[in-house]
Symmetry: C2
Subunit: 178 residues, 2 copies
């Protein structure tokens, strides 16, 4: 391994130990920051939905994968139901049906955005670290289950970017989250 | 908006206020958990690299986007240099060149995995919340800059999944991070 890989700042052994101990236990993300990051991603996903022509949103696919409307509805099916499950320990499927127009999908998206903002702050503090079985299937801490929903959205939105490029459409800027 | 969207558990007003206050300030992710999540994603990205046939890894593209080897090298260019920058305040480009074979790319990947594990715990605690200008361009807290690297990897790996499906290759399971 080239030595450049380990060219860390020069620290005394004592300093190193102190830092390592601190880093293992310090908080890097609070609950409100997690919600803000999620909503930032959700704003970007909303712009990705908007970027699709209506027919392609519901039909375009590569390699047998799902159209982007199906993926967006999967995100909706995970977001509020997961926050409800982490809050209450009750895991229930999203009760609504997949919208059949772009306008209806965006309307549902916005309703869920408001619901997330209203519900997330009511998650009891201890539930983030508590292990539960999400939807009776996925055993994890509340935090990890929420992070999974965010990561899944980023992952499939990246898939949507390829659909857009293949359609000759410029996707929204990945780094814009406002 | 349908009333089902706000079917939260019934709580008294006082209980609600207490929870909201707690949630705004509680820690949901510690530094070591952040590193573990990142390395879990990096293990999945490694399997994604492995899933590509050698020639397609360096050449296959959809819609004018970069081949997956370029994306993987972008992840390498962000990971350790960002940890170094957050640690020290010095932002330096990754010094190596893009490997030209799959074996060399995987070897470099594994070196960087070890470097991340060695360096991350030395990030001074206060640097996660401190605002800095990453690589002289991106102003953000250390935590947000690290999260951006993780999110960027998830995003572009999702793009790689489409490449694999278009090539008739089953991508690795998204939910497996071991």
């Amino acid at each position: 391994m080239p030595s450049t890989l380990f060219s860390t700042p020069k620290l005394g052994d004592k300093e190193k130990t102190t830092m390592a101990t601190e880093t293992a236990t310090i908080s890097v993300i609070s609950a409100d920051q997690l919600l803000n990051q999620w909503q930032g991603h959700r704003r970007l996903t909303r712009r990705t939905i908007e970027a699709f022509p209506e027919d392609k949103l519901f039909s375009f696919s590569i390699g047998g994968m799902r159209p982007f409307a199906d993926l967006a509805f999967e995100f909706i099916g995970m977001a509020v139901p997961i926050v409800d499950g982490v809050s209450t320990g009750k895991w229930e499927k999203f009760p609504g049906e997949k919208p059949s127009t772009k306008a209806a999908l965006l309307r549902l998206w916005d309703e869920q955005t408001a619901a997330l903002d209203a519900k997330f702050p009511n998650i009891p503090a201890h539930r983030f670290a508590e292990v539960d079985v999400a939807f009776g299937q996925w055993k994890n801490t509340g935090q990890a289950t929420i992070q999974y929903a965010i990561d899944n959205e980023i992952h499939h939105r990246g898939q949507g970017y390829v659909y857009l490029r293949a359609l000759g459409i410029e996707p929204p800027h990945f780094w814009e989250r406002d």
